[in-house]
């Protein structure tokens, strides 16, 4: 595939690895957080950690939308699915995320609820058009990349006069989550998690641009490099971060100039601003309540808001007491340090959400990284 294969060239990866090794100052450690689960997956899949010198450590961040959604919202989605006459549509991974008491949307479907996996919100809209006698609810999750399509669906439902379509909105925001990590006691006071710089997700910045990161790069003095998801993109962004740190700079740099600008996709931003507004706070698994970190549907579109249409109690929630997903999402614990990892908890039998999504740190490490562990202990 054009502009994919070229960015996977092993010889070039070797050259960039050599440049990183030369740039990394001996006697200095570099702790770099890749915020996005897509980068976590790429790092594991392509063995990037093995190409880095030992004094560069990648810290996995919470940028996996499936992983950060708290159990109470999964329970709410199950409640909606179990409501008479409802068809609940969502992206595939969400079916397998455990709710409380071993519940899941998969299980709800086995027990008779009409839960459907869709590839796009437009599939849900189409089902609503085809089945006017049923209530179709789209369980919307995701960062800034999935939000514009949901906005389009809301506007389209309104223009089509669809009365049987609504959205259970769980869209969250990347910059607020990074700021929350930088404000967390583990990073600020306890020093348990050291983060010297961030790799920012390119696909998010194709929408929001690079500008939203400028504030906290300056305020918290942490460099940010926005990077694509191919291995050479990730390697190059690591090199750019190491160089910034060596030079004492904390700037926002853009590695993915082929689709990211400072301003982003202004049309998509306008669609999102038309339909959504900021929530005062939203609960994230692992991060707790994060101020202004999620979106809700504006009052003007309340007819399409499932939170207005259905009675959804705010449920108390607690993860499995041995599950370390919260700590993994904050970068405190590595997947292999959780005692459930690889025995009780596997991608086939996930206990926590980080083992469900391919972007989850636990699933990525189980699929690729555990072989690295075996090599190291052999």
């Amino acid at each position: 595939v054009k502009y994919v294969d070229e960015f996977r060239d092993g010889r070039l990866a070797g050259a960039i690895a050599e440049a990183i090794a030369l740039a990394a100052a001996p006697g200095r450690d570099y702790h770099l957080m890749e915020f996005c689960g897509g980068h976590t997956h790429a790092i594991h899949r392509h063995g990037i950690q093995d190409l880095l010198p030992p004094n560069i450590r990648m810290v996995h961040g919470p940028g996996c939308p499936v992983c950060v959604l708290p159990m109470s919202r999964i329970d709410n989605a199950i409640q909606i699915a179990q409501t008479q006459n409802v068809i609940l549509c969502t992206y595939g991974d969400m079916l397998r995320v455990p709710g409380s008491n071993h519940a899941s949307l998969f299980r709800a479907r086995a027990e008779g609820a009409d839960v459907r996996m869709v590839y796009s919100v437009m599939d849900a809209l189409r089902i609503a058009q085809q089945r006017p006698e049923r209530e179709v609810v789209f369980f919307a999750i995701g960062f800034e990349t999935t939000t514009p399509p949901t906005a389009v669906a809301v506007l389209q439902a309104e223009s089509l006069g669809l009365r049987n379509f609504s959205v259970f909105c769980n869209h969250v925001l990347t910059p607020s989550a990074i700021q929350s990590i930088l404000n967390s006691p583990e990073v600020r006071e306890l020093g348990r998690v050291r983060i010297d710089g961030f790799i920012g997700p390119a696909h998010v910045s194709t929408v929001i641009g690079s500008r939203p990161y400028e504030f906290f790069a300056a305020e918290y003095q942490r460099p940010v490099v926005i990077a694509g998801f191919e291995p050479l993109d990730v390697m190059q962004s690591i090199l750019m971060l190491v160089r910034q740190l060596n030079e004492g700079r904390a700037e926002v740099e853009n590695e993915f100039t082929r689709a990211v600008t400072r301003e982003g996709n202004v049309k998509a931003q306008a669609l999102v601003a038309e339909v959504f507004e900021l929530r005062r706070a939203f609960e994230w698994r692992g991060l707790g309540m994060v101020p202004y970190s999620a979106l809700r549907i504006k009052k003007r579109y309340a007819d399409v808001d499932a939170e207005q249409r259905f009675e959804l109690p705010s449920l108390p929630w607690a993860d499995h007491k041995s599950c370390q997903c919260g700590a993994v999402l904050r970068g405190i614990t590595r997947p292999q340090e959780c005692k459930l990892f690889g025995n009780v908890c596997t991608p086939e039998t996930p206990v926590g959400p980080c083992m469900v999504s391919a972007e989850g740190a636990c699933a990525a490490h189980y699929t690729y990284g555990r072989f690295r562990d075996l090599r190291q202990t052999a």
Partner: protein, 43 residues
């Protein structure tokens, strides 16, 4: 013809081929500096 960045069925943005080539050229520059014997790097 344009290449798009597609996510959940939508094109989020267009890929700029000139910028993509410039990024690849940056990588080739790194390869040249590393002395990697590679035909494209010598261009």
């Amino acid at each position: 013809m344009h290449d798009d960045i597609v996510h959940v069925g939508y094109a989020l943005n267009r890929l700029d081929p000139e910028e993509a080539e410039q990024t690849l050229e940056l990588f080739r520059q790194v390869a040249r500096e590393s002395g990697i014997p590679w035909p494209e790097a010598a261009q």
